[in-house]
């Protein structure tokens, strides 16, 4: 009776070993096959090594369980008492060595492919920020920030969550299909990691270093990823969205982006000469604050004690205006407080500074005009 149960359990175990990986290989738990030559190579390498591991497990555990079962004490088995066996030891050392070397062959071929960033058609500089990504199309003179666009009420559980919850951005990285794109990955503050599983690209973004990676997407579509290096409070809120477009669509997008940039320049020039009223700046500033600053300084202006200073009643936000402008334009080097001079327009900067000086009972009554910001920028 006992013997029967044991035999059954043993076969069940072996069956599970064989079936579970077979099933899970096709499920979402496995690595994606992806849409690039490299991602196919990575996936097949992963599966090859996985099956080698399965084979080793079946053989090793098979022999082990068989030995335990067939040489059990109740059958009168006696333990062997030999001390050393050089031949067996050499065999069990050499076999893993040979297996490892054999696995290194396809792994090396894949790695060499992954690191070959030569002859790229498009260069994109990717910079990690706390907590967003900046993309710069080096050849086309386009650059923009890409920030999370999942609405706050979904994050606070006040609304049902979308399918792409926390995987949605305001401006995706748009790439051409069938072209070799080289990524130059770096960071502005702490270490981040740019990771898009479908492209099989995951590269650390390290301040002061430029790491290279590349991709050549085979199919148009939307591919999502995330920051893969714990980078502080909003690490989970800086997703990556890649939109792969056909070559024509991509060229049209580039032309459109460049036109947009020209229009923005003119709008900025117009706004710089426009007479902004205090209330207009406050309204605009509130929006900028919620979009950019509230992640750290909090919507209440209270910050997070000992991490992000409160702006409500802050000596800077209620003190010297010039000092306030300086810190927002140039940041505080070595802290999470970034330089916003390049990230925001003069109008946005003027608006958000005006807002900080008057919101949350700061009530300084000050109005900071875009011209004042422009004056500081011109001095450099």
């Amino acid at each position: 009776m006992v013997e029967l149960n044991l035999t059954k359990g043993y076969w069940l175990f072996i069956a599970l070993y064989l079936v579970v990986p077979q099933v899970s290989a096709d499920l979402k738990y496995n690595m994606p096959v992806g849409v690039t030559e490299v991602s196919h190579a990575v996936h097949s390498l992963h599966m090859t090594i996985f099956w080698i591991c399965v084979a080793i497990a079946v053989i090793v555990f098979g022999v082990m369980f068989w030995s335990i079962f067939h040489h059990r004490k109740s059958r009168g088995a006696k333990a062997a008492q030999f001390h050393e066996n050089t031949l067996v030891e050499i065999i069990w050392t050499l076999i893993p060595l040979v297996i490892l070397v054999a696995m290194a062959v396809p792994a090396t071929a894949t790695l060499i492919k992954m690191y070959d960033t030569s002859d790229a058609d498009v260069d994109i500089q990717i910079t990690g920020y706390q907590w967003k990504w900046h993309y710069k199309y080096v050849n086309d003179d386009i650059e923009f920030f890409s920030t999370l666009s999942t609405p706050a009420d979904q994050i606070k559980n006040e609304a049902p969550k979308d399918t792409n919850y926390l995987l949605e951005v305001d401006q995706p990285l748009v790439l051409p299909v069938g072209k070799k794109v080289r990524f130059l990955v770096t960071s502005n503050d702490v270490i981040h990691s740019w990771w898009v599983p479908d492209l099989a690209v995951k590269r650390d973004a390290i301040p002061g270093f430029i790491n290279e990676a590349w991709t050549k997407i085979e199919r148009s579509g939307t591919y999502r990823g995330q920051c893969a290096e714990l980078c502080g409070k909003d690490h989970g809120f800086m997703p990556i969205v890649v939109e792969a477009k056909s070559e024509q669509e991509y060229s049209a997008w580039v032309a459109n982006k460049q036109a947009e940039k020209e229009a923005a320049k003119q709008a900025a020039a117009a706004s710089a000469t426009k007479e902004w009223s205090h209330d207009e700046l406050m309204a605009e500033g509130e929006k900028v604050y919620a979009r950019i600053c509230a992640a750290c300084h909090q919507p209440t202006g209270m910050g997070i004690p000992s991490v992000f200073p409160a702006l409500k009643g802050s000596p800077v936000a209620t003190g010297n205006v010039q000092e306030h402008i300086n810190i927002v334009l140039h940041g505080r080097p070595g802290t999470a407080m970034q330089a916003f001079a390049q990230q925001l327009s003069t109008t946005e900067l003027a608006a958000v500074i005006t807002y900080e000086r008057n919101a949350w009972d700061n009530n300084t009554g000050d109005t900071v005009l875009p011209q004042a910001i422009q004056a500081v920028l011109d001095k450099q």
């Binding site: 050089t86 050392t93 090396t108 071929a109 060499i112």
Partner: protein, 66 residues
């Protein structure tokens, strides 16, 4: 002369066994009966250098052909 070569071959074999991590008791007894550890140390350093150089060469060859 022949004896010396044989001795060196024995030392190289012992060092290679140490690289692999497997040695039999008989050879171990014999090695520990030697007068000086220096031949083993020298052979160990030289073979480690050869191993490193061999790895560097393999990487060069693989990268050149890849």
């Amino acid at each position: 002369m022949k004896q010396m070569l044989l001795d060196w071959w024995r030392i190289v074999r012992s060092v290679l066994s140490a690289f692999l991590g497997v040695q039999n008791e008989h050879s171990r007894q014999r090695d520990f009966a030697s007068d000086s550890p220096w031949p083993f140390i020298i052979a160990g350093v030289v073979l480690a250098l050869i191993l490193v150089i061999a790895l560097v060469l393999i990487v060069h060859v693989v990268l050149a052909s890849g």
